[in-house]
């Protein structure tokens, strides 16, 4: 498969209540590296195995949650094409000049029907310290903490997930990989991929707009998920559930919370998706297994705790 439009999640900007506590969490526990800090106090970070300049932006605010999530597009030409498609679909697009964000070129911003702000960009500087490319060692120095490889995806809660799904599938070229459907055929959760991962973005139906369920980081193995669990107990971090496994995507996972109450995930595994694959569908009477395969039941927090 040749991926030519939207490539992958690029970065996400997360609001935190206390930057010092957030840095201890994202840098020292999850293992991200701080790349730069801007004059307005935002801190830019990346995982050790990411080539691009940054993937996580932390902004101190009086309410946690997500400011926006961005996807990287293959080229400036592809960005122009997606711009045209968004406008043709009646989606208002804000064009942001290159340089407004450190290391990032022109950005296109739009609001999804779920109330979330998304951005598309094609140009970002390579990180000064990214994965090696000549006789590449595994890493420059051994990774810290949970040894996160990359920012992988977000799960977002909002009201009009049908509208958001249509936008991502019909306009931006995503595929639905998996879904949860009620007996009256209402989709209550949809998992969207722009490449060959089981999901790059997931949406769950919720009464409010613009909510963050979790920001997810990829780990290398089930063993690393266990190591992450050890770290969470050692530092008395707030754990939601896990280690366990998702039926949906098959990922091996832990949900936990950052010091501002934003949910994070670290996970390993998950199947490979090809765009000719049929959609995998779960019925609501099996939703427990769909979300938490080992517990076979949702915990109360899954549907109610968001930022």
């Amino acid at each position: 498969m040749a991926i030519s439009g939207v490539l992958r999640p690029g970065y996400v900007q997360v609001r935190v209540l206390d930057m010092a506590a957030a840095l201890e969490h994202y840098r020292d526990r999850i293992g991200l590296d701080v790349v730069t800090t801007t004059n307005d106090g935002r801190v830019f970070l990346k995982a050790y195995d990411e080539f691009d300049h940054h993937s996580i932006i932390l902004r101190e605010a009086d309410e946690p949650g997500m400011d926006f999530m961005a996807f990287k597009v293959m080229s400036e030409g592809a960005l122009d094409e997606l711009h045209e498609k968004l406008l043709a679909a009646g989606v208002p697009v804000e064009e942001i000049e290159p340089g407004d964000m450190p290391a990032v070129g022109r950005r296109l911003a739009f609001e999804a029907p779920t109330g979330h702000r998304f951005e598309l960009f094609a140009t970002i500087d390579l990180a000064q310290i990214g994965p090696m490319v000549n006789n590449p060692e595994l890493w420059h120095a051994e990774p810290r903490g949970m040894r996160a490889l990359r920012f992988d995806h977000c799960l977002l809660y909002g009201d009009d997930i049908d509208g958001a799904k249509a936008l991502f599938v019909d306009v931006l070229g995503f595929s639905v990989t998996e879904q949860v459907v009620t007996p009256d055929h209402t989709v209550i959760a949809t998992f969207l991929s722009c490449g060959m991962k089981a999901h790059d973005l997931a949406l769950v139906r919720h009464e409010g707009k613009g909510k963050l369920h979790h920001v997810s980081f990829l780990l290398e193995s089930w063993h690393d998920v266990g190591h992450a669990a050890d770290i969470m107990s050692r530092y008395n971090m707030s754990v939601d559930i896990g280690p366990t496994r998702h039926g949906i995507t098959r990922g091996q996972t832990i949900y936990f919370f950052d010091p501002s109450g934003n949910r994070n995930e670290v996970f390993a595994g998950g199947y490979t998706f090809y765009p000719d694959h049929p959609v995998r569908t779960w019925s609501t009477d099996e939703v427990g297994k769909a979300i938490f395969y080992y517990e076979r039941a949702l915990n109360d927090r899954f549907m109610t705790v968001v930022t």
Binding site: Q13, R15, L17, D18, T38, D40, R42, R59, A61, D62, E63, P64, G65, D67, F68, A109, R117, G210, S238, D240, F257, D258, P259, S260, G261, N262, R263, D300, R301, T304, V305, V306, T307
Partner: protein, 112 residues
């Protein structure tokens, strides 16, 4: 010996001891009590909102969506961010307590 404060949850009469310096919700959960719903435990989700009806406490950082500025002085706080300074009586938040929560999203520099 560490100073402990006694916490009473009015709704069910449950009492438990919270060491000075520990969050009220964290102490409750560690002792196996379930009187107050547990969400993110870190001031963000609002699930553990309570009204302190008696006693003194300090509060850690909380989402302004669930506890608007000034309301902590009136006893409204997230149990996970309540650090008791004396024995406390608390009750679970009512619908009225939750109505003071801000409905709008924050607008801030570079929040776009």
């Amino acid at each position: 010996m560490a100073v402990h404060h006694t916490i009473e949850v009015e709704d069910c009469g449950t009492r438990f001891r919270c060491p000075a310096g520990e969050g009220l919700l964290q102490a409750m959960e560690r002792l196996g009590a379930r009187s107050i719903p547990v969400g993110c435990r870190n001031g963000g989700c609002g699930l553990c909102l309570v009204r302190v009806t008696q006693g003194a406490f300090k509060a850690g950082p909380m989402s302004c969506r669930h506890v608007p500025p000034g309301h902590t002085d009136l006893g409204l706080a997230l149990a996970c961010r309540i650090y008791p300074q004396s024995d406390l009586r608390v009750r679970l938040a009512t619908d009225l307590d939750r109505q003071v929560s801000r409905q709008s999203s924050p607008e801030g520099q570079n929040g776009r």
